[in-house]
């Protein structure tokens, strides 16, 4: 996406998830198709991890008729209700209240579904986030609030936008567990998320999970990140890459070979390349689509 965006063929705003992959995968590995997630503007990773079709996503990013949202949402609104993906969201902090809603729905209907919202460190300062923690706790909802703290709210460092020690500590005030994990470590995220999700599914109420992580690219594509220290991203890529950490650990344990991982990489490259090529070639939306799907019936 980063390379494709520079060609000018991708319309609008795109916010990349690179560097944060361990979080979406570690959390969504525990989720069933009928569980729900509410995502963020940086939502590509969440969508893939929740099972959204990669070609459908790519066609959406290119604004094409085959897109998951028929070209009417774009990168910031990729959604697939059939997969329990309640949408990327162009409003920072827009998702947590909806997370409460799916939790309430599960509770009232007597199912053991759970809801998960992803929020950035920037979103964690929105009233919606804090209100939702309180509401979920008061109603004892099966909700998990995942904070992806990548250190920057757009360009503003968390040293200047977040008071307190950890965002996870905010959970204390709302009577729910709040845990900090290394968001570069898939296994740490997987274990912490599993505990929170099991708890919610079992009727134990909501939890907050703060994953400390880094993003490689800018707030949006085109952001030159002049506000970051020289070499900061290169150093992170070299020392804190979540994919490298995962590969190192599973190969060292003898669970997966380097050859297996190369094969997976090749498959992913082929999948993405194919999705991009098809998305570029896909038809534009029909002009009549401008007026459809505003209402179910009007």
């Amino acid at each position: 996406m980063h390379k494709e965006f520079t060609t000018g063929e991708i319309p609008g705003f795109v916010h990349l998830y690179a560097g944060e992959e361990a979080i979406a995968t570690g959390v969504c590995a525990h989720l069933r198709p009928d569980d729900y997630i509410a995502s963020t503007h940086r939502g590509h990773g969440h969508a893939i991890a929740k099972g959204c079709d990669v070609y459908g996503m790519m066609a959406e990013i290119y604004g094409k008729r085959d897109g998951l949202c028929r070209g009417k949402g774009g990168s910031m609104h990729i959604a697939d209700m059939d997969k329990g993906m309640l949408g990327a969201n162009g409003i920072v902090g827009g998702g947590p209240p909806m997370n409460c809603g799916v939790g309430l729905s599960a509770m009232v209907r007597g199912t053991d579904q759970v809801g998960v919202s992803f929020t950035g460190d920037g979103g964690s300062n929105q009233g919606t986030f804090l209100e939702s923690l309180n509401l979920a706790s008061v109603w004892h909802l099966p909700c998990i609030f995942v904070v992806e703290n990548n250190g920057y709210a757009e360009s503003t460092s968390d040293r200047f936008h977040a008071s307190g020690v950890d965002i996870a500590k905010r959970a204390d005030g709302f009577g729910m567990p709040g845990v900090v994990v290394d968001g570069h470590d898939f296994f740490a995220v997987y274990e912490a998320a599993g505990a929170a999700i099991d708890r919610a599914r079992g009727g134990g109420g909501p939890s907050l999970l703060e994953c400390k992580v880094n993003r490689y690219y800018g707030h949006f594509e085109g952001d030159q990140q002049t506000y970051r220290a020289p070499g900061e991203v290169d150093e992170l890529r070299r020392t804190r890459d979540c994919l490298d950490a995962f590969a190192g650990r599973v190969t060292a344990a003898g669970e997966v070979t380097a050859e297996d991982l190369r094969r997976v990489d090749d498959e992913v490259v082929a999948l993405i390349d194919d999705a991009v090529a098809r998305a570029k070639a896909a038809p534009e939306p029909d002009p009549a689509d401008l007026l459809t799907d505003v209402y179910v019936r009007y």
Binding site: A79, D80, V138, R297
Partner: protein, 341 residues
């Protein structure tokens, strides 16, 4: 004669009947139970004005008090509606939309379109509106124009107990998000309301008084005000037709054009502020679509371009009155009695 109940009781009955009929209907908001978990729970409030009284005990687990956190619980209504419930959320006063509007207009209203038709958001937001009880600037506004402006939302503004029940039942069964406006002055007004469940379709205006000389199109509480004016004008030989829009989104444009075609004169009565409001919108539609039928300029009777004042003497000037409607009607007839003559 049919049974007579208040506007407020009609709303309670609509909620009661829909909750009994459909287990996916849930009701939540500030104080809608009104004492959940408190020492006096048995006599729970049922909303600040008692509109939802009694429902908490009848539907355990489905009538929920909320924290005073409109963004969270209105957003929760959106999420719940996307995932199998038909939530009815109460935003106590429409004036409070300022604290939660994102969840209404950027989330609830848009999900279906942004998601290419895959989402359904069958939620109702019930809210109190209107001036007249000396509640001042932050508890007296109309504001339905703002919601009507937003694609994806439907907006109902009932004027009678009968309409309140039928429109609310339609709203709850509707698969789109509906903002349901309950006028606080009308709550105690009584009217004939059948005991059985019934629906009133959205987008169909109601001609509440037939007449040949001047059309008066009105919304919500102003429908009664227009009827009162029409009664006074009839004594002077001016025969008004009064049309109640019932819903502002969808808007029954055809009924507006039909009545203008019939009378050639139009007065729009709207308690909302005048700029970019329903009255201006309707005047523009009529100018565009039936200009040739007009025998006089369209008149708008609205609140002034001010916040609602507190003082009773000022608030009475703020709200359109039967007298002001009468003056507007006379402006369209040029003072002539029996306009068509």
């Amino acid at each position: 004669m049919a049974r007579v109940i208040t506007f407020q009781k009609a709303i309670n009955e609509a909620l009661d009947q829909e909750m009994a009929r459909d287990p996916s209907v849930v009701l939540f908001g500030e104080d809608v139970a009104g004492g959940q978990g408190a020492g006096g729970e048995l006599d729970a409030w049922g909303g600040v004005l008692g509109v939802t009284k009694g429902l908490y005990h009848r539907y355990p687990g489905r009538v929920l008090d909320t924290p005073i956190s409109e963004s969270a619980f209105i957003g929760a209504a959106v999420g719940a509606a996307c995932s199998g419930l038909r939530p009815v959320a109460e935003l106590m006063f429409v004036d409070f939309m300022g604290v939660c509007f994102d969840q209404i207009f950027n989330q609830g209203a848009k999900l279906r379109y942004m998601f290419g038709g895959k989402a359904r958001v069958p939620m109702v937001i019930r809210t109190m509106w209107g001036a007249g009880i000396r509640a001042a600037g932050q508890h007296s506004q109309s504001l339905y124009s703002i919601f009507t402006h937003v694609p994806g939302l439907k907006v109902a503004v009932p004027s009678t107990p009968y309409d309140a029940k039928g429109l609310l039942i339609s709203a709850i069964r509707d698969d789109d998000p509906v903002i349901f406006f309950e006028n606080k002055v009308l709550y105690t007004v009584e009217g004939e309301v059948p005991e059985e469940s019934y629906t009133i379709p959205f987008g169909e205006a109601n001609v509440v008084r037939e007449g040949d000389d001047v059309s008066v199109v009105a919304i919500g509480r102003m429908v009664g005000m227009a009827q009162q004016a029409a009664g006074q004008l009839a004594a002077d030989g001016i025969d008004c037709e009064v049309v109640d829009l019932r819903t502002t989104s969808p808007l029954d444009e055809d009924s507006i054009y039909e009545t203008v075609e019939k009378t050639g004169r139009l007065v729009v009565v709207d308690e909302d502020n005048p700029r970019c409001g329903m009255a201006a919108d309707i005047a523009a539609l009529v100018a565009q679509n039936c200009f040739d039928d007009l025998q006089a300029p369209v008149q708008m009777v609205t609140a002034p371009h001010t916040p609602p004042p507190f003082s009773g003497s000022l608030e009475d000037l703020y709200v359109p009155s039967a007298e002001k409607i009468g003056e507007a009607v006379r402006r369209t007839t040029g003072g002539k009695v029996g306009a068509r003559a």
